[in-house]
């Protein structure tokens, strides 16, 4: 019970901060200090959201699908790369700089090239999501593998463990917390990546919808879709958190105290 009331107290500051921002928004638009074509009022944004709800859902379906496929491929790719790089030091030295360089290429810059190469379908979007999600996961996995206690590895060696057994029993599980923090970042990158790729061409998706409403100067709809993207990203991060607690029950057990 004490814990529960504690967590409610913890939620007061962020809720207050959001409240203040929302209040300012009402004030700015309600008092007419900012014209409504530049900043639509919260009420008109909510109205646009409700009015366009079926369309928004249709487009988010496409975006989510692209993000999902991209994320799955990105995770698989990152896992294979990080594991190989951890096992072979030379490979690590060869590929780590390449990985860092690919991250410095701005997403917006490669998106049009991908569209040029792959057309207006899902392929360039998924590819962009793979590129953006790959790096955070690969780096966090690599760090996770490195964070393993060398004595624990030695202990398994004295038991006669093979490299694969050491990986399975010690290295991979120790890297899981870092993997999930990487996945949390990547999940939100996945949505943004898909939206950016959609801006540059395509027939459906939240990015396509955004481009259309922008051209129509429908700023209330523009804000509605931004809020939708925020909500989707937050939901995805929550899903990753839930997955993390399900996969790593020992973290919760550690917090709930000791018996002697």
């Amino acid at each position: 019970m004490i814990r529960k009331s504690g967590s409610i107290t913890n939620k007061i500051p962020p809720l207050a901060a959001f409240g203040v921002i929302l209040g300012l928004w009402f004030l700015l638009t309600g008092a007419g200090w900012v014209p409504s074509y530049m900043l639509p009022s919260p009420v008109s944004v909510v109205t646009a959201f409700i009015h366009d709800f079926p369309t928004l859902m249709y487009h988010s379906g496409t975006t989510l699908l692209e993000a999902f496929y991209g994320l799955i491929i990105g995770v698989a790719f990152a896992f294979i790369m990080a594991t190989l790089m951890d096992r072979h030091e030379t490979l690590n030295r060869a590929l780590y700089p390449v990985m860092v360089v690919t991250q410095t290429i701005p997403t917006v810059a490669i998106a049009p090239i991908l569209v040029l190469w792959m057309g207006f379908g899902m392929a360039p979007k998924i590819t962009l999501v793979v590129i953006t999600t790959f790096f955070p996961i690969a780096v966090s996995l690599l760090d996770g593998y490195k964070s393993v206690d060398a004595d624990a590895v030695n202990l398994l060696k004295t038991m006669g463990a093979s490299p694969w057994q050491i990986f399975y029993h010690v290295k991979f599980p120790s890297a899981l917390p870092q993997f999930f923090s990487g996945l949390k970042v990547s999940a939100s990158y996945a949505i943004v990546g898909a939206v950016i790729a959609e801006w540059l061409g395509g027939f459906e998706g939240l990015g396509v919808y955004m481009t259309r409403v922008r051209k129509a100067y429908a700023f209330d709809k523009m804000f509605a879709v931004i809020i939708l993207i925020v909500i989707i990203s937050l939901l995805l991060m929550a899903v990753v958190n839930l997955m993390g607690s399900a996969v790593m029950p020992w973290l919760k057990a550690g917090r709930s105290g000791r018996s002697s």
Binding site: M159, A161, H169, P249, W250, A253, G254, R258, S259
Partner: protein, 248 residues
């Protein structure tokens, strides 16, 4: 019967001789301590014996068979319990059996009866983070025991991170358990009291480079060692050891 023998072990790191010409042996059922100050090279010797590193000179014989540089034959326990946080206590303890190819369920069933003997009853399904320091060391010792198919184990300062009271309790417990199970141990410590209390024989090691200077037999039977450290006999041993260390 002789179980383990290390012959003329010399280990050099970066041109510096860490341990030189070490000869020790362990009889079956014996508890032996390797007593020395920090930096005397005790852990290096252990790494050589366990096969984690290969000595420049010398060899390690287990029941007469040369196992120099081959890990997987002698179990090893450290000051850190090294219980894997993501595995339940029973899975941690039975891990050596799984590594050797046993199915998880079978390994659990084999480990389970020992929980009571080791004073770990009821902790099987808990995670290591839920146990106290003393309990974690008990679990680590049980794991070491299950890992030791050959009956030989190396314990590297296993109790030195515990507070004095827990340490006293765990010493009594340790002797009690060791009287019941078939495990011969080589025990590293820098604590003179611990060495006298828990051993049949003490090797005194000095640095640098690390050599074995003396060997002392503790004649008092292990079963009669309750409050041993308050007896004159104990103090006599302690005086002898201090003298041995002082001469160096």
């Amino acid at each position: 019967m002789e179980l383990l023998r290390a012959e003329n072990i010399t280990k050099i790191y970066d041109g510096r001789t860490i341990i030189q010409n070490i000869n020790i042996h362990l009889e079956r059922g014996e508890l032996i301590s390797l007593l020395g100050l920090s930096g005397a090279g005790k852990t290096t010797l252990f790494q050589c014996i366990s096969g984690l590193v290969k000595p420049e000179e010398g060899r390690v014989l287990l029941k007469g068979e040369d196992i120099t540089g081959k890990p997987g034959n002698i179990s090893y326990m450290l000051q850190k319990d090294l219980l894997l946080p993501h595995k339940k206590v029973i899975d941690n303890v039975s891990l050596p059996l799984v590594i050797k190819g046993m199915k998880r369920k079978e390994a659990r069933a084999k480990a389970n009866p020992f929980f009571e003997q080791f004073g770990l009853q009821g902790t099987q399904e808990q995670y290591p983070a839920q146990l106290s320091g003393g309990m974690r060391q008990r679990a680590a010792l049980l794991r070491t025991y299950l890992a030791s198919t050959t009956g030989a184990a190396l314990l590297d300062e296993p109790f030195s991170a515990l507070d004095t009271i827990t340490k006293g309790q765990i010493h009594e417990w340790y002797l009690d358990v060791m009287n019941k199970i078939d495990l011969s141990t080589l025990f590293i410590t820098h604590d003179i009291d611990e060495a006298i209390k828990l051993s049949d024989r003490v090797y005194i090691m000095t640095g640098k480079p690390g050599v074995i200077e003396h060997e002392l037999f503790i004649e008092t039977p292990r079963k009669g060692r309750h409050n041993f450290n308050l007896t004159d006999e104990f103090l006599n041993y302690k005086r002898q050891i201090i003298q041995m260390l002082g001469k160096i």
